[in-house]
Symmetry: C2
Subunit: 216 residues, 2 copies
């Protein structure tokens, strides 16, 4: 099985998305600010086919986000705002024509749907038979690469609770969102299996890397 | 009124005390590790009348904890494990003969008790008429000094919710305690009034300073 990882930005008060998520603000109020540190890096610019961007600590972390990633798994809300059946199926996700994943993406959902091929190597596949099935399909698709959980919090929590995550990075931004999706809850003791192996700070964000040091 | 502040160590998953607090482990399982960064500093050594200790970023933060502090407010559980009436009143707190406060301390409780004078300038006073009364008494006692909320989480939250806190520091340690007392919850939007004005990292802890930038 390919290595399973995630890399996620979190506010100092523990949220990976802000309160009152909506079609206009899919990351909730203030949620987009959690990713500002990444948006300004050279890696992120390159990922969008743009010149420039900052180098340094944050850039290295942004690079690590996509490095060696052969497949991505995400919750349905990370794909789009539609709930229940897909309807006319025209919605192709929050991410525009050329999503930043550039890998096969496996979207967890209760509603079957044909795969949606986007530009730049991203194909959205819809998995209706649970997180372990998604992991198997992602592992087949990833080849020698790793599998990244794209989010959101509840998807990350499901994989942590199932003791399936090998390593993760948390990028803490000194914002207080006051509400939203909390990362570290509903974990059933899963985090006891991990140890921080690296912490590195830039003026705007502190990056932590955790690896699994024992099996749950 | 004197300035009201707090300075608190928090795990990366948001807890200021670990799970399963007991008389043997008043900070809960893993809770004491949150303070390791402070214990090794020169300031902390001095506070205990000892030689040595480390200097640098963490030492400056440990120094700021007690600097200009003229009075301290704490919740009853920070004083000791006794619940309900005080009984024979022999329990003089977790903190030993010479508690690290060296100021008048105002303990929030529902049960009246005569003040308890300790060595080194710490006197425990017991306040039964609420957080605002405690703040007034602490302010009288503090003189030109500031008032520090010693904890725990629920006392800090009460003062934040009442919009009475002027500034605070959070020291984030890359541990995952998995449970315990969470700092940033039950805050009723209070944190929206604060802005991070400083973040500085050592290899073991990242220190954040927040100040109130608007009145709630």
């Amino acid at each position: 099985m390919s290595k399973l990882k995630f890399s996620i930005s979190m506010s100092l008060d523990g949220f990976v998305a802000g309160p009152r998520q909506s079609r206009e603000e899919p990351l909730g109020e203030g949620g987009e600010s959690l990713h500002e540190w990444a948006f300004v890096t050279r890696s992120f610019h390159q990922m969008q086919g743009k010149e420039g961007g900052e180098t340094g600590v944050d850039d290295e972390q942004a690079m690590a986000w996509s490095e060696n990633t052969g497949a991505t798994i995400m919750g349905r809300n990370m794909f789009g705002p539609i709930r229940g059946p897909w309807g006319d199926e025209q919605w192709k996700g929050w991410w525009g024509d050329d999503p930043p994943y550039h890998t096969p993406v496996f979207v967890l959902t209760h509603h079957a749907r044909e795969p949606v091929e986007m530009q730049g190597g991203t194909t959205f596949n819809f998995v209706t038979d649970g997180i372990e099935a998604a992991l198997e399909q992602a592992s087949d698709a990833a080849g020698d690469g790793e599998i990244s959980i794209g989010g959101g919090a509840s998807t990350v929590q499901q994989y942590l609770r199932a003791r399936l995550v090998d390593e993760f990075r948390v990028h803490v931004v000194p914002l207080l969102l006051g509400g939203g999706e909390r990362l570290f809850e509903h974990l059933d003791g899963a985090t006891a299996d991990y140890e921080c192996v690296e912490s590195v700070a830039s003026p705007t964000v502190t990056h932590y890397a955790f690896v699994r040091t024992r099996s749950g």
